[in-house]
Amino acid sequence: MTRRALLIQLARLGDLVQTIPVIMALKEAHADWILDLLCPGHLEDLGRILPGISTVGRWDGTVWNRRARQAEKEFRPEYVVEADTDIRAITQEPYDYAYVLNQHPRAILAGALLAQESIGAMTGRPLDPTLSPWGAYVRAVAKDRSENRIHLADAFCGMCGVSPPKHIMPIPMSSVQLPNDLDPIGQSCGPWIGVLVGAGDPERLVPAMAWTRLIAGCLEQLQGSRVLLLGSRQEQERASWILASLPSSLVGRVWDTTGRLSLTELAQALTRCQVVIGADTGPLHLAAAVGTKVIGWYFARARVHETGPYGQSHWIWQAEAVKREALHLKLEREDLRRMEFLDTLHVSPVQWPIEETIALLSDGSAASVDGWSLWTSHRDRWGAYYVEAGQAPVAPLQREHIWNELHPTAV
């Protein structure tokens, strides 16, 4: 029987991209269902080209924010009418199911308003929700920072009562054009290397100097290579600084697109690269989703096993934290409040894997760097996983156990 389901993803770009496997898994499990997506307005265009999605509902946080500010000043019944109109603009008839992947109250409320039944991170009524088994698992991993062998994107599948998809296909980008002057990108031979110069979260910013050194090294050592600087308008200044810091002989091989591309154009530009390098950011995941290989530099709170790019053959340099065992020993002698420190633990690298990344690009050789480990991605029936470079791609055993324990929620 045909059902209508709505996937609610109100978080950021990276989260939407991590939602692609669950879209595919849902379509594999329920080929005849109509699957729609509700996402923030600025991600709407990207949502429209995701395979498996019938229609995209736009969630306009700005309008809701403005309405809330007005209602805070003076509550008027009209605001409820307007809010209802906005909800009805998404659907007149409630969906059979809402797949709510965020634990935020507004995503849960949206599920309750738009569908007869909500499935996802939480179960129960909107105001007394409890974490679903998969929701609890994801939260425990985020809180304890313990070893996690189930990728977040696969945990989303679990939340929605489906197994990870058998097949992952790249986002089809054929319909999107680049601006004329940028169309030559990726058309000439030689490796095109995309560099994501910024990050939405300041603690995930790679120093511009490190990017400059990496770019200069690539251009000098990889024959015929070109570099594409990618980022938002806010990152134009960083890109300009990087360009200005490069030897003038190399500048002609660098294309600065920061601040010039829409989200779908960015996705198109990413397909034109042979490899994309960046921190744990939405565009890095988008690059993986359009089928481009990526090399991630994961530091601060980013952890390869949770949010490594989904798919196969991606590389992640993971900055290593202080040995946890040592930290625990120390903390045992201190008061419990200090334990909270663990929750905020993040890693600030003192050096960056620049030469080693260039070596990976030139001949695939995996060198070691102090304070960093290198991981490569694989996929099997339980989803994506990462194995340390140089190790056999043996899937970690506990994944199957976790799936067997948590999966029973089926629709």
Binding site: E72, F75, P77, V80, V81, L109, P126, L127, D128
Partner: protein
């Protein structure tokens, strides 16, 4: 003449009475002069009422500014008639269903406008408000909608006094009708003369049914004084200044935890300009009641731009000075009395013995008092002097009570009640009478509220507050002995004055009156915020009326008692409190959704 005939004929369809009155008016107030652009402009004596270059362009620019503030549902009330260019621009730029009224203090000006140029059909969409200021206020109130005043300065200037009276009438009507419950945070001083006033303000707001958060910095007085005990002045000043900054931040933390509709600071409240600016950025509305002589205490110069509203006890030069310093709204709000505290008392014989005298003076030993009071000693009457800071006043040592100790409010009231002739001499820095005698001190109102007879040094602002049948003013120091001789044996005359002055206070001069006036003033200029609350639009009853088109909301609103103010957060909290074990209605989910965005608010501190 042709334009006049045509325009009045056009207007006759909607307001025939006004047209008849216009025919009878003389006109000729404005001089019509062509502008450079060609359209007629106007002058009043030697001042331009519209642009000499392009009055239409100027009017469009003015209208654009007004539209930024004018909210749906409000009636725009234009002050300033001129040649109506600005009214035309506003009428043409606003939505078709928006209502615009214009105040017409002088029909002759309107007749000039009607005769100067052809006016379109838009004039039939305007509501013309005419009559005395009081009549016009009544007409405006009858609109039953929030009023948004749009002042076109060059034309409004012609009738500033009438506009002032109109606004006063509106404030009175609004104050009388006000039914809503505001949340007001009152920020008091650490110590000093404004501290009791802050307390009276808190009481009055409570009496009026508003919710009051009393941010009482008096609890910090001990620490503040301890920091003042250092020998070196620079240490004292630095530490006390830093301490005041900390208190300013603590005020901000308090406001962040329970955001009010209005922050009302009383003079000497420790709120720094930086904190006030931050509060403005976060959309907090602030007001200061500066119950000080602006010539003596000049810290207002640093804070003038910080407060949204200034209320002062002086006029004229005080207004000008504050406005020059950057204050945007300055209003006169005289002192008052609190009839619960300042009241007639029945005293025991012992109390009469202790506190009573033919003549008394209560107050601190300012220079002018030290110089003048000895001149009013006489063997013809007994005199008692109460209060502190009289050290070294040898001529008064014989009448000084309790060795010059400070007396509390209760003792003060007993003195007022037990004295035949209370002297009330305003303090000043010189040795004679105040050379700029404008404001009226709290003591005047407190004595009157006690039903006590007083001789008070005359003030320019006194006649508006009390008549000479209520208090007995004196202008020259040498007149005081004679006045005492006149009044002391006249028990009935004193009683008549005292009772009349008490009646006057109860009628016009309580803190309750002042706070009504203050809130109405803010409400008139903030029709969509404070005004809407004061009008009771947010009370259950008002909301229920507005919810007629959303009957599904009624079960939610019915849960709140009639007369209670309802905010978004109240509704959401009520839904949450009752959510356990039941399916929420769609409207409840929608309210919660809006509230989830509200909750993501300000990081104030």
């Amino acid at each position: 003449m042709e334009h006049l005939n045509q325009n009045l004929e056009n207007l006759r369809q909607t307001v025939p009475d006004l047209v008849a009155a216009l025919w009878n008016s003389s006109g000729g107030v404005l001089s019509i002069v062509p502008s450079r652009e060609g359209a007629p402009s106007a002058r009043y004596h030697d001042q331009w009422v519209h642009s000499a270059y392009d009055p239409k362009k100027e009017a469009r620019s003015w209208a654009e500014q007004q539209l930024k503030e004018w909210k749906p549902g409000e009636v725009a009330v234009v002050l300033g008639v001129g040649l109506l260019y600005h009214v035309e621009a506003l009428a043409l730029a606003c939505p078709a269903d928006a209502r615009t009224a214009i105040v017409v203090p002088d029909l002759s000006v309107l007749k000039d406008a009607m005769g100067a140029r052809p006016l379109g059909s838009w004039i039939n969409r305007i509501q013309w408000v005419t009559g005395t200021p009081e009549e016009m206020a009544t007409q405006l109130t009858a609109f039953s909608s929030p009023l948004r005043f749009c002042t076109y300065g060059p034309a409004a200037r012609l009738h500033g006094d009438i506009h002032e009276r109109l606004q006063t009438s509106l404030r009175r009507i609004m104050a009388a009708k006000a039914g809503g419950q505001l949340h007001v945070a009152v920020v008091g001083p650490i110590y000093g003369g404004s501290l009791p006033i802050a307390r009276y303000v808190v009481s009055a707001l409570n009496e009026l049914g508003h919710r009051v958060s009393w941010i009482d910095h008096h609890v910090h007085q001990g620490s503040y004084e301890a920091l003042g005990s250092y020998r070196e002045e620079r240490h004292r000043l630095m530490l006390q200044s830093r301490f005041a900054d900390v208190l300013s931040l603590s005020t901000m933390a308090h406001l962040a935890e329970d955001p009010p509709d209005l922050v009302l600071a009383i003079a000497q409240a420790p709120l720094s300009l930086a904190v006030l600016q931050h509060l403005r950025k976060k959309k907090f509305l602030t007001a200061m009641w500066f119950v000080e002589n602006y010539r003596h205490l000049t810290y207002w110069q640093q804070l003038a731009t910080g407060y949204d509203y200034w209320f002062v006890i002086q006029q004229g030069g005080c207004f000008d000075a504050l406005k020059r310093a950057g204050a945007s709204h300055v209003h006169y709000l005289p002192m008052a009395a609190d009839p619960i505290v300042h009241r007639p008392m029945t005293l025991t014989a012992a109390e009469h013995q202790e506190y009573g005298a033919d003549v008394s003076f209560v107050g601190a030993g300012y220079a002018n008092r030290r110089a003048l009071l000895p001149q009013w000693l006489s063997h013809e009457w007994t005199m008692k002097l109460w209060g502190n800071e009289w050290d070294g006043a040898a001529a008064l040592s014989g009448v000084l009570q309790r060795d010059g100790a400070r007396i509390d409010t209760d003792a003060c009231m007993k003195v007022f009640n037990a004295t035949a002739v209370n002297l009330n001499l305003h303090s000043c820095s010189g040795t004679g009478m105040d050379s700029q005698p404008d404001f009226v001190n709290p003591r005047t109102f407190e004595l009157a509220a006690c039903g006590a007879f007083q001789l008070v040094d005359d003030r320019t602002l006194l006649p508006d507050l009390f008549t000479s049948d209520e208090v007995a003013p004196f202008r020259r120091t040498e007149d005081v002995p004679q006045l005492i001789r006149r009044w002391l044996p006249d028990t009935e005359g004193r009683r008549a004055h005292a009772e009349a002055s008490r009646r006057r206070v109860l009628r016009d001069h309580t803190y309750r009156h002042r706070l009504q006036e203050l809130l109405s003033t803010v409400g008139l200029s903030q029709p969509d915020r404070i005004g809407s609350i004061l009008r009771g639009d947010r009370l259950t009853t008002g909301l229920k009326e507005r919810a007629a088109s959303v009957p599904e909301l009624l079960p939610l609103l019915n849960r709140f008692p009639t007369g209670q103010r309802i905010e978004l957060k109240d509704l959401a909290a009520d839904i949450r409190a009752r959510a356990a074990g039941r399916q929420l209605a769609r409207e409840e989910l929608l309210v919660l959704m809006i509230d989830s965005y509200r909750a993501e608010t300000k990081d104030l501190v």
